[in-house]
Symmetry: C2
Subunit: 495 residues, 2 copies
């Protein structure tokens, strides 16, 4: 078999686990010489995971996992055809121990806490694999490879590794590189000779989900300088190309995800995801997810809203609501100025949906942190934001952001808009790519070696630079020439 | 840890199993930075098998195994100092299913037979490791590596691989190369992160015990042409040097091991292991193992006996006992001519110990087969027996053979006697060497690639060549000039 694999496919070193040897011998000695076998890529050598008479093996399947702290998304792929057979998002059962990851890390430190969290992820994964297999009419026993992309903490939970040092200075996880492992190591119910791959981390705050995103973007194979931006409570940024990479992560605050705003909500059915305000009539138009009656504001809607308020002259560059400019939408709610997006009669609950002065301050702090991180990373390597030819936007709601509005509020830099590319679920995409292209495994290793990680929280110039970014779009006008041009055009037309 | 291992020891790729990662994190996060760790050599990369605070790990141990079909010899080594802590031979429990390996292969084909045989080897190994550890005052948990040298069939039993095709044409075992495996795969009770290495086979009749022997001889590293001869029921021969190797195995018959002779016995206490006959007085002198009263003839004694009978003119070149030459020792026993070595009053049982005419015919067939194999192998590569600068004699009794007498009967070629080197327990030596010198693993792989295996049983010229070798020492006088010189000297002195 080794000889045949080498002769026919040029595969030199092959591992043959004992159970496969036993199967192999009974087939060969029955006189059958035409075999099918399934090989999986180990760290250094291919491994024969199954062997059978020709035509008797089902197509090998792979499972790609985006191991999110809120939602765990699974994709079931036919590894022969590359076809995606099924996919679904499952609630991360760990949420009952805390919505945010810090409270789960705290829970993990309690008696049996880590084991509980580990069991919960395992349960979701096994249930998901079973369900997707049923839906696709295949057997989960034919899943030979799982590639898992998750942030550093989620991977620690999955593997039962102590996460308690991740959020503490100097932010050192137990492991960055995880060796390929047998499914039994973490109790996954796939083919016993299969393998589990976890995308490596670069640091506590630059996890495997980002690595998978880089893989999905392909920027590591390009000469042009590109930037990958993961927009979320933690802003994670990677700048570079095929020869160098600088990464950085910092807290942008949860405001951008909509979560902590007074009327904020997740991007679910009924969330307002698009907003525009006519600068002349000040008429507000919006669109909700699934076109249901509005229930709240999600991330992309919030960015649209702040940009529209700014362009319509309803907030000033410091973020102050100019309450006198519009009597209809401006209100005082619980002693605080607020702008109403959807009135009582429009909303599902019969209550108004609005943004408060405090919400706007939060938002500006988040967008300012986001921009400052991009700025610091770029300056650290002596590259101008203009030199960056492609901006890949990843993250939970990255795909839904209107880049023009993100530029208008000074969250993203003022570059030609066609440079922004939404990556969708970048982690899931990268995990799928790894299943279909084995070279990707080596590419990921190369990427981790190439990345220089800047610890943003400890950089002094971050705070200095942040100050200028706490304005709309920025105190430094020259950084946002197009935004100012748009503002001037609007005020000329409006006058 | 990876960085430190690379910086301090130049070890690049390191595998870290999950349990080790967990241990590692709890140690490092407790603030301890001085670590000891134990690495074992995997197929492509080192693997961290254990990690602890400095000074807390016991010395790593290794176990070398000579997996014989009769006796399983274990050696317990301290891998730090290289010291041998203990060793012992254990009876192979499989013997109750047949003394010879063929009857065990038959037994294996029955219901649960293979599992029984596997369980028996496992039991001997685990018991042996435990006992040697106790004797040396160490913990078997500190055994991190086992290297096992056995013939092809014994390795199949150990791994639970179907051996039924080993003795059938075209003599194909299930596997020649066995990947390194976890101890759990075969139920060995050593450190769970340790590894098990089985020496590979080259064919059904050229097993890992021979490979270990080659390693122990070091002939694969020399330019001089050498030959390794494993003397036994199956004669296994390897000819070559650092650049090429030809191997061959063939049935020499069990006579050489003493087993099937009328008064034959294993090389145990009371066995006659040395014999000489004064050509003038025809006085017989002998020596027994442990100097006990004689109980029978073992292999080395039998070779001495035949040579002495020949040199003393008590058998003719065809092997016929010249009964008229010595009335005292020659007898007719059960209607057959026989030569008595130890008389009734000398032996332990009170019965005479002798060799019969039939025994001598058997012996000559075996020695002839042995010589013919050497001859065929040598001619197959166009090398003369004279060109071989070193003959390594391995096998159960190889070490005890008197080379001069083996030459006198024409079993070994007539070359200067200092070219013969006894290897002792070559398989055990090779297994121990593998524990102490990791490069040996690569050397063994190189050897298997280098070996050309001649299937002796199917070579027509074997039978032709054998005819000449069924004489003492050979029909072709020119092949044994020194033997004839000795005979001439003796007859001159005797006359």
């Amino acid at each position: 078999l080794r000889d045949a694999l080498f002769r026919e496919y040029g595969i030199g070193a092959v591992r043959l686990p004992l159970p496969v040897l036993r199967d192999l011998s009974s087939i060969l000695f029955s006189g059958v010489l035409d075999l099918d076998c399934i090989l999986v890529r180990g760290a250094d050598a291919w491994r024969v995971a199954a062997v059978e008479r020709q035509g008797r093996l089902s197509a090998p399947l792979g499972c790609a996992v985006d191991l999110g702290s809120t939602t765990i998304v699974l994709y079931l792929l036919d590894l022969d055809s590359g076809e995606e057979l099924a996919s679904a998002g499952y609630e991360n059962l760990q949420r009952i121990h805390g919505e945010d990851i810090l409270s789960r890390i705290l829970f993990a430190s309690g008696d049996g806490g880590l084991e509980t969290l580990q069991a919960e992820v395992r349960k979701v994964l096994n249930r998901g694999i079973l369900e997707l297999s049923r839906r696709a009419g295949v057997d989960p026993y034919n899943v030979y490879f799982c590639s898992i992309a998750g942030n550093t903490t989620m991977i620690h939970f999955l593997l039962g590794l102590d996460p308690s040092h991740i959020p503490k200075e100097p932010y050192i996880p137990v492991a960055n590189h995880i060796d390929l492992m047998a499914p039994q190591c973490i109790g996954l119910k796939i083919h016993p000779n299969g393998l589990i791959y976890c995308f490596p981390n670069v640091g506590s705050y630059f996890g495997g989900d980002l690595l998978a995103g880089i893989l999905a973007s392909g920027m590591h194979r390009q000469d042009e300088i590109a930037m990958l931006i993961d927009v979320g409570t933690n802003a994670e940024v990677l700048l570079g190309n095929s020869s160098w990479m600088v990464a950085c992560a910092g807290a942008a605050g949860p405001a951008l995800e909509g979560g902590i705003l007074t009327c904020g909500m997740r991007a679910e059915c009924g969330a307002i995801e698009r907003i525009s305000i006519d600068p002349k009539t000040l008429r507000v138009s919006y669109k909700t997810i699934d076109n249901e009656k509005p229930r709240g504001l999600c991330g992309s809607g919030v960015i649209d809203l702040l940009a529209s308020l700014f362009l319509a002259g309803l907030v000033d560059p410091t973020g102050k609501l100019l309450v006198d400019r519009d009597k209809r939408h401006m209100r005082n709610i619980d002693g605080e100025a607020a702008f109403v997006v959807a009135f009582e009669e429009e909303s599902e609950s019969g209550l108004p949906i609005y943004i408060t002065q405090g919400d706007i301050k939060n938002l500006i702090r988040s967008k300012g942190a986001m921009y400052t991180i991009l700025n610091v990373v770029t300056e650290s390597v002596g590259v101008g934001l203009d030199d960056i030819e492609r901006f890949y936007i990843a993250g939970a709601f990255g795909n839904y952001i209107n880049p023009e509005n993100a530029v208008n509020i000074g969250m993203l830099p003022d570059v030609p808009l066609d440079r922004f590319v939404g990556l969708g679920n970048a982690a899931g995409k990268g995990a799928k790519e790894l299943l279909l292209r084995w070279e990707a495994m080596d590419e990921v290793n190369d990427i981790t070696k190439k990345i220089t990680y800047l610890e943003m929280n400890v950089r002094a110039d971050f705070m200095n630079k942040l100050t200028g970014a706490l304005f709309l779009p920025h105190t430094d006008r020259s950084r946002f020439p197009n935004v100012w041009k748009r503002l001037e055009n609007l005020s000329e037309n409006g006058s």
